[in-house]
């Protein structure tokens, strides 16, 4: 004879969420607590196990460090510009290449190729491609015009980095937009055509509004990715002359490993975490309000 035990919904919920809670505690909670401790401590590689709590001096050091604000400004500009460029280009390609890709689906594979390359490798590749004496781009510019641009010079490094990032990640935005574009019900398009809507009206009043949620998500993802950029920038220019191409990630890495300023580096990462949380919380609140208003 078997006996059936009945668990309450609450205990079932606890049981089912237990693995997730344990995972979060071990892999996120523990490092987060250690980070918080280090951020208010005087700590070095020698004293990792016995940090001395010193209050908020690390946060003050970060706040007063011009390099931190320079890196924040770089990350913000870089994230915003690349997100706008990638989404703009991705949207353009998704809409105007859609008829072609419907007939030649293999084109999609080619367009996705940049996504398959690791960002650090992309950086290495462009380091070679743009080198005045070894790269093909400066070679042809010298051959045809007798001069070449200084792609990684102080005045142009930022724009070269933006271009490299945009070339690599536009396919990601394109993929999202293409899927969203394909998901627009055909009958709506046909109905608008029967009503005499011109192409630009259809695009502006029907297709783009229907794709808006995807556009917002893509902009957000690409901004976050651009804001935290590390690999390709680090490989191509490092932190740049005078720290001019140091993103926040590079700032934190260099403070931690190169300067051995562990407390300061961790404090900067805590500031970044709080700022990210506030932004995401704000966006989430706005989205929830809109959802509520739509109902």
């Amino acid at each position: 004879m078997t006996t059936k035990t009945h668990r309450s919904p609450a205990s079932e919920f606890r049981l089912l969420t237990m693995p997730l809670v344990v995972f979060l505690l071990v892999f996120l909670g523990f490092p987060a607590i250690v980070n918080l401790v280090y951020s208010v401590s005087s700590v070095s590689f020698e004293t990792l196990r016995s940090p001395e709590i010193t209050g908020f001096s690390n946060f003050v050091a970060v706040w007063n460090d011009g390099a931190f604000w320079q890196a924040s400004w770089f990350s913000f500009r870089f994230g915003l510009l690349t997100a706008l460029l990638e989404c703009g280009l991705g949207l353009f390609l998704a809409i105007f290449l859609a008829p072609l890709i419907e007939r030649r689906s293999w084109l999609m594979a080619i367009l996705m190729l940049p996504l398959m390359v690791a960002p650090a490798l992309v950086g290495l590749m462009y380091r070679l491609v743009l080198h005045e004496f070894a790269g093909p781009v400066p070679y042809y510019l010298w051959t045809w015009f007798g001069a070449s641009l200084s792609f990684l010079g102080p005045g142009s490094a930022f724009w070269t980095l933006v271009t490299v990032e945009t070339l690599q990640w536009t396919p990601f935005a394109f993929l999202l937009f293409y899927m969203a574009y394909q998901a627009i019900p055909r009958e709506i398009i046909e109905a608008s055509a029967m009503d005499g809507a011109r192409y630009r009206h259809r695009l502006w009043y029907i297709e783009l509004p229907l794709m808006a949620p995807t556009i917002v998500v893509a902009l957000l993802i690409r901004f976050i990715d651009g804001f935290r950029v590390f690999d390709n920038v680090y490989v191509l220019t490092g932190s740049g002359p005078g720290g001019s191409t140091a993103s926040l990630s590079i700032y934190i890495y260099e403070a931690f490993f190169k300067q051995g300023a562990i407390g300061k580096a961790v404090a900067a990462s805590v500031v970044l975490f709080i700022a990210s949380f506030v932004v995401l919380y704000g966006l989430n609140t706005i989205a929830a309000r809109r959802k509520g208003a739509a109902r």
């Binding site: 990684l152 010079g153 005078g242 001019s244």
Partner: protein
């Protein structure tokens, strides 16, 4: 499970643990620099040592290699954690101070002074104590195009043009000289003369190639210029002395060359590889570069355009003399070594003439004194120059082996590149550097 089975399992586990742990404690484990000539040389030295009849089985050397990426950070984390995974570890001149708290000073063999000389031994010293054997040395050569300089020296019209360019950019008329007699002003004048932006008739696009990327190793290349004008990081009393005429002269010379177009516009993103590629293209007349580039730049197979016409000499002179930055890789003793006595014996042997010659014959780059290097001169002619220059012109800045030496180079890289790229004034760059160094070296 019965008690008998548990007992049997326990015995097997104990036997396996003993087998695994036993050799690790009986041997001398040496953590080396992976890949490249240093690994090959260390392997040969270890084989020679292990074959010696007076080395017991308990003290034979086993080698261990990490990946090069992040090597120094991983080493620091391991040492700080009290690792016993290795008895002897690699260390570098610019990071001895970081590791010294977790290492023990070593006693070298009686031959060490004769083999390496005092100057080279200082690359492994910290606070007056010897922390390692200097097995591989790096310094800088000035590489130049002999064909171009010879043509300049034999052409009166070119000499007049050279003097005119020197007067315009350096404020004084200079005459072309043999590179071995150059001052830094002669180097600058030659770099300008061979720059098409300055002299449209120049056979090369650029007179020199400067490595100006915001990178600590590039600062090491730069230091020899201010040093030749008497520059140092600190005076004997420990006061930071970077805000000086010597550093001002060095920084201004680089800036003048960059602004005049004597080095590629992208030089602010150049490091070792980019500079080599520029020079090897045949579009550069002279440059300062690490000795490690010699095998590439002076080989007609690897650099067909310039390999046969390139010479390597010590960097130019200043009022205080001629200098080349030196730093070394070497081996020292882990404070938590499991086999400390065995490790000490190996380190002592490694500093002997026998070990140095084995190391040299197997691709290593030890800086040996003239008396010792003559034994390998036929096989390794490059080591003759390395040992000679290290002994005659080598220097380590005051504070160059301190715990924060790497951070000092990082700081200089950021501030100096900020000046060269026009983002801040020379006064601000020097003031910021001095302030930051005072904090780091206090």
């Amino acid at each position: 499970m019965t008690f008998a089975r548990m007992k049997k399992g326990g015995l097997i586990a104990a036997a396996i643990a003993t087998l695994l742990a036993g050799p690790a404690f009986a041997k001398v484990t040496v953590l080396g620099w992976p890949g490249g000539p240093e690994e090959a040389a260390l392997r040969a030295a270890a084989d020679t040592y292990n074959a010696k009849p007076d080395v017991s089985d308990d003290n034979k050397v086993e080698l261990l290699f990490f990946n090069r990426d992040g090597f120094w950070d991983k080493l620091q984390a391991d040492l700080a954690a009290g690792s016993t995974a290795f008895d002897v570890n690699l260390l570098a001149t610019y990071s001895i101070g970081r590791y010294a708290p977790f290492m023990e000073p070593v006693e070298l063999s009686g031959e060490a002074k004769v083999v390496y000389g005092d100057q080279v031994l200082t690359t492994m010293q910290y606070e007056g104590k010897q922390f390692g054997v200097p097995t591989d040395l790096s310094l800088h050569f000035m590489y130049y195009r002999k064909d171009l300089i010879d043509a300049l020296l034999n052409d009166d019209g070119a000499k007049a043009k050279y003097a005119e360019i020197a007067e315009k950019h350096l404020g004084k008329k200079l005459e072309p000289k043999n590179p071995d007699e150059w001052t830094w002003d002669d180097y600058a004048a030659t770099a300008l003369y061979f720059t098409q932006a300055v002299n449209p008739d120049s056979p090369t696009r650029y007179g020199t190639v400067l490595q100006l990327k915001n990178l600590l190793f590039n600062m090491m290349v730069f230091q020899s210029l201010p040093r030749a004008y008497g520059g140092n990081w600190m005076d004997e009393a420990g006061k930071v002395t970077v805000d000086s005429e010597a550093y001002r002269k060095g920084l201004e010379t680089y800036k003048m060359l960059y602004d005049a177009g004597a080095t590629p516009r992208d030089s602010l993103s150049y490091e070792f590889a980019e500079a080599n590629a520029a020079y090897a293209s045949g579009q550069v007349a002279a440059m300062m570069q690490w000795n490690a580039a010699a095998s590439e730049l002076m080989s007609k197979d690897k650099s067909p355009t310039v390999g046969e016409v390139t010479e390597a000499i010590a960097p130019p002179a200043g009022p205080e003399g001629r200098f080349t930055h030196i730093h070394g890789l070497g081996f020292g003793l882990n404070k938590n070594a499991a086999n400390k006595e065995g490790a000490k014996a190996f380190i002592s042997w490694l500093s002997s003439k026998e070990a140095a010659l084995v190391y040299a014959r197997n691709s290593g780059a030890p800086a040996l004194t003239p008396e010792v290097v003559k034994d390998v001169a036929a096989e390794r002619p490059d080591l003759v120059k390395l040992g000679e220059f290290a002994g005659k012109y080598g220097y380590v800045m005051n504070g160059g082996t301190s715990a924060k030496a790497l951070s000092v180079y990082e700081l200089q890289a950021k501030e100096f590149t900020g000046y060269w790229s026009g983002q801040q004034s020379l006064d601000d760059a020097l003031k910021n550097t001095e302030k930051g160094m005072a904090e780091l070296l206090k």
